[in-house]
């Protein structure tokens, strides 16, 4: 198949779950057992979408095999010179659906090889275009577009594969919903538990809608569309967290998730507005479009507008510069006077743009537009902070565990919360170094904070939730220090092992009917498959390996993150406190990760049963639940492997190779920020052979040792029992309380935001009740009195009176006339005769000649 089929393959894969959603919405409750109450339809749709995604992957590999010819080492260097690539627009599709996306990979490739500098970053290959144009309002074009590169395809395969596994798993996990459910967590006023009808169709309906939204988010070709799908996944998350709507805690958690996400989205909207005001476009990639005259024009997308500098370095786009320097523009216009033509004004402004951009001729003045670009980046990142549960908006994710466990696995660990990381990765070219530093710091704080909280949590799902927050922090940190592939590789590997871990925890919860790890223990004998697969997940998330030989997937991604953080630190020459902090927090976080994951595993599966009653009733889950576990365990083990150890051309056939293909513009060169005095290393710096001794070797050993140390500590405390956890707790009572209360974040937000909001709300309600309601009530009373008077005057007297009088008149005439009807036949005859006579007489006397004509 041609690459032009890609938009249609992926578009269809996106729409299949939507079709399933609408089908279940309309007919779901009426589907019987034959369709598993709608579950089979949703599962079929997502599996079909998965098949389409993998077909798309094959099509992609057939045309753009990863790593074709470019050698990372050749692209190294801190030099940022080089010619600007004239043909960096890889491909473009026309705006009409049905047109072929023009494959321009060859063109782009040749441009790269012609580049004399050698370290030219080859632009990523992508297909961008519009399925449908919703409308064009002046400069603003709203369209349903697509942007397909290897990252899109990776995400499609990832989302559909995990979602398929989870759909199958849900068939078993949500089996109870097929008949009447007794909710043990809802106690009614009479002390009994709530009994309700099961709603399997509703669950799968939302799952389908979620899959559609997530795939649409990944496929989206412009940031406006991303925003729409962003909100769609948000609302799906809201529905699914609140699936057990009768539980008060589920209601609150759903509201919390939704509201906290809105805060982030507010920032995202600001970012969108800045981008649109400055750039006049929402599109990511360059799109070739025929204008009204029929000539084809290349419409630049956000990425190439921002990365227009030499060697795709960051260059503030003209639009942002002009927007920022509007006072200067006004001065020029005034200076030229009213007689100047539009072209003259335009020329005068265009001549100045470069000076404004660079901060005056001497570079000392204000650099117009740069602040706006930073603002746009921070704004977009705000949205990602909300969605990916980063500090300070991380509070919603642990509460979101109120939803059913498959939802936690799919939505709140593997895919939706990764959408924030995905968007940071997608938007990477737009982020200035200052924004990257913010991203890195936020990620660093998040990863450390969440990891520490996970140590004290006893709810098995909450441990995993904080682990998710922490791992998302890792990804943000990686992206923030310039590790684009590292961050997104961790996204992929994390998606697999975290969905695996969640499904395992779901399997345990399904067996023992509690989330509390203090009630579990010793379950490995009862649930061997679950215990084993969860062990794989724990090893994967801890990043266990035989260094430099082979390891679980987490080893590869976490190592890359640490290496990038380390090279960032080395670039600063160990001088920068911040850079060192980033690295050591990440390394320390790795140890804590290993510790709390194995604490979880030991508490659940090892030792003696703490609750014999629950232990007795535990059993291994049915096959429909364990098979997805095994599948995910396989992927969690090997998804990051590179065939032939990175030595052969075929070794590019891996997630890393694929991700390298869509490496954003400009990330292979070092990015310097004069304002911060820091330089961001390019990602290949750490992997250069000469850096092996300085970076790769120590970092790998450090990661391995910290992981083993964490596991060892967990083993000592929770498995062997050499140290009593309770004693440690007593020893560090203050710290324990601090961690147990999640760093007091909920309480802090309660005091800072919730209570003031309630106070304002109460005050507003009082004003409403006393003043506004009083005014309205008075007006209403006055109006109704007026109406009563008017009613008497006009309606009763005039309208009703006249009608009644007319009616009684007609009635009287009728009564009078009825006396004619005597009932006597002879009288009638007489009337007829007299009448005829009268007519005759009348005609004889009065029908004069004038009448007769």
């Amino acid at each position: 198949m041609e690459p032009s089929a890609l938009p249609w393959l992926l578009g269809l894969a996106t729409l299949l779950p939507l079709a399933s959603f609408f089908f279940l919405l309309l007919f779901g409750p009426r589907l019987g057992k034959a369709f598993g109450h709608g579950a089979h339809i949703a599962t079929g749709a997502i599996v079909a979408a998965g098949v389409l995604s993998f077909v798309a992957l094959l099509v992609w590999l057939g045309h753009h095999f990863p790593g074709g010819g470019e050698h990372p080492a050749a692209e190294l260097g801190r030099v940022t010179s080089g010619e600007q690539d004239p043909a960096h627009a890889a491909t473009a599709g026309l705006s009409e659906p049905g047109s072929r996306a023009v494959g321009g990979a060859g063109e782009a490739g040749s441009a790269a090889s012609n580049s004399p500098a050698g370290h030219m970053h080859r632009p990523p290959v992508y297909y961008a275009g519009d399925y449908y144009t919703l409308g064009v309002f002046g400069r603003l074009r709203l369209s349903i577009g697509y942007y397909i590169d290897s990252l899109t395809i990776c995400m499609f395969c990832l989302v559909t594969l995990i979602a398929s596994c989870i759909h199958f798993y849900s068939l078993g996990y949500m089996h109870d919903e097929q008949h009447e459910v007794t909710d043990q967590e809802v106690t009614l006023r009479d002390g009994s538990h709530l009994k309700r009808r099961g709603r399997p169709a509703v669950f799968f309906q939302y799952m389908s809608l979620f899959c559609f939204s997530m795939l649409g988010l990944v496929l989206a070709g412009n940031i406006a569309m991303v925003f729409v799908f962003w909100e769609l996944v948000g609302i799906c998350s809201y529905f699914l967290i609140g699936f057990y709507i009768e539980r008060r805690s589920a209601c609150h958690a759903a509201n919390k998730a939704f509201i906290v996400n809105r805060i982030g989205d507010f920032g995202m909207m600001i970012g969108l507005m800045v981008l649109w005001c400055g750039l006049g476009t929402f599109a990511f990639g360059d799109v070739q479009r025929a204008d009204a005259g029929g000539t084809k024009r290349l419409e630049q997308g956000i990425f190439s507008l921002v990365r227009s500098g030499a060697d795709h370095s960051l260059r503030v786009p003209d639009g942002l510069v002009r927007l920022s320097a509007r006072d200067e523009v006004a001065r020029i216009v005034r200076g030229l006077g009213p007689q100047a033509s539009a072209e003259q004004v335009e020329q005068a402004i265009a001549a100045q743009v470069e000076t404004w951009r660079n901060g005056g001729p001497d570079g000392q003045g204000p650099r117009f537009g740069y602040g706006l670009l930073v603002l746009a980046g921070i704004g977009i990142f705000c949205g990602c902070v909300g969605k990916s549960a980063q500090f300070p908006l991380h509070v919603w994710l642990p509460d979101a565990m109120e939803g059913p466990t498959p939802v936690s696995a799919l939505v709140h660990s593997a895919t939706m919360v990764a959408a924030g990381v995905y968007l940071v990765g997608r938007f990477f070219p737009v982020f200035t170094p200052e924004v990257l530093l913010v991203i890195a710091l936020v990620g660093c704080i998040t990863l450390f904070m969440a990891a520490t909280i996970a140590i004290t949590a006893t709810d098995i799902k909450r441990v995993l939730a904080y682990s998710t927050v922490s791992q998302l922090g890792y990804m943000m940190l990686a992206l923030g220090v310039g590790g684009w592939v590292a961050g997104l590789l961790h996204l992929v590997t994390h998606a697999f092992f975290k969905s695996l871990l969640f499904l395992c925890s779901g399997s345990v919860i399904h067996a023992v009917h509690t989330n509390e790890m203090t009630e579990m223990g010793g379950l490995r004998k009862k649930m061997p498959i679950t215990a084993l697969t969860m062990l794989v997940g724990c090893l994967a998330i801890a990043g266990i390996s035989i260094p430099f030989v082979i390891g679980f997937s987490g080893y590869y991604s976490k190592d890359r993150i640490l290496e990038q953080a380390c090279s960032f630190m080395l670039y600063e020459g160990n001088r920068s406190f911040v850079a060192s902090l980033l690295f050591y927090a990440a390394a320390g976080g790795a140890m804590i990760t290993a510790f709390y994951m194995f604490r979880l595993w030991y508490l659940t599966f090892a030792g003696k049963p703490r609750n014999p009653h629950r232990y007795e009733h535990a059993h291994e889950s049915p096959l429909v639940m364990t098979v997805p576990l095994v599948v995910l365990a396989v992927f969690a083990t090997g998804v990051a492997w590179q065939p032939f150890g990175g030595q052969s051309r075929l070794s590019n056939l891996s997630v890393v190779g694929l991700l390298e293909q869509s490496r954003p513009l400009g990330t292979l060169a070092d990015a310097a920020s004069p304002a911060l005095g820091m330089t961001w290393p390019n990602e290949h710096f750490a992997h250069a052979p000469e850096q092996h001794e300085a970076i790769v070797k120590p970092v790998t050993w450090l990661a391995t040792l910290t992981a083993w140390a964490g596991i060892g500590l967990a083993t000592v405390i929770y498995c062997l029992g050499y140290i009593q956890a309770a004693e440690v707790r007593r020893q560090f009572e203050a710290l324990y309380q601090f961690l147990l209360h999640k760093w007091w974040f909920d309480e802090l937000y309660d005091v800072l935001f919730v209570r003031p909001t309630h106070a304002v709300a109460r005050w507003a309600a009082a004003v409403d009740r006393h003043w506004i309601d009083g005014l309205i009530d008075g007006l209403a009373r006055w109006t109704s009195g007026l109406a009563a008077i008017w009613d008497r005057m006009a309606d009763q007297w005039l309208v009703d009176g006249s009608v009644n009088r007319f009616a009684s008149g007609v009635y009287g005439v009728g009564v009078w006339l009825r006396r004619v009807q005597t009932g006597r036949l002879r009288q009638y005859v007489m009337f007829v005769a007299i009448g005829a006579l009268a007519v005759f007489v009348f005609i004889s006397f009065f029908w004069g000649s004038s009448w007769a004509g």
């Binding site: 009825r818 009932g823 036949l825 002879r826 005859v829």
Partner: protein, 111 residues
Amino acid sequence: MTPCFGQITVAHYLAVGAVLFVAGIACMMTKRNALGVLMGVELVLNGANVNFVAFGSDYLRPQSLGLDGHLMALFVIVLAAAEAAVALAIVLNFYNSRASIDVDRADHLKG
């Protein structure tokens, strides 16, 4: 020849028809017996018939109605027969319910 006994003209017929008509009307107005009323009706119809026949005769007027007059008369006869049949049926039913054919007692349709 006196006008009365001379040539018979249309006017003579009209006079007879008028007498019949008035007699019929008087009969309808005065008779309490339903059959008497019916007879009055027949008289009225036949009074009219005499007029039609007179106007239709070629012997009495040069520009007569011709066959139209005769046809009209025949039509009225048929009509009278039908009417008599219907009226007699009504009278019979009335008699069955009241054991009387006094039209003055048939005042159910009184307003």
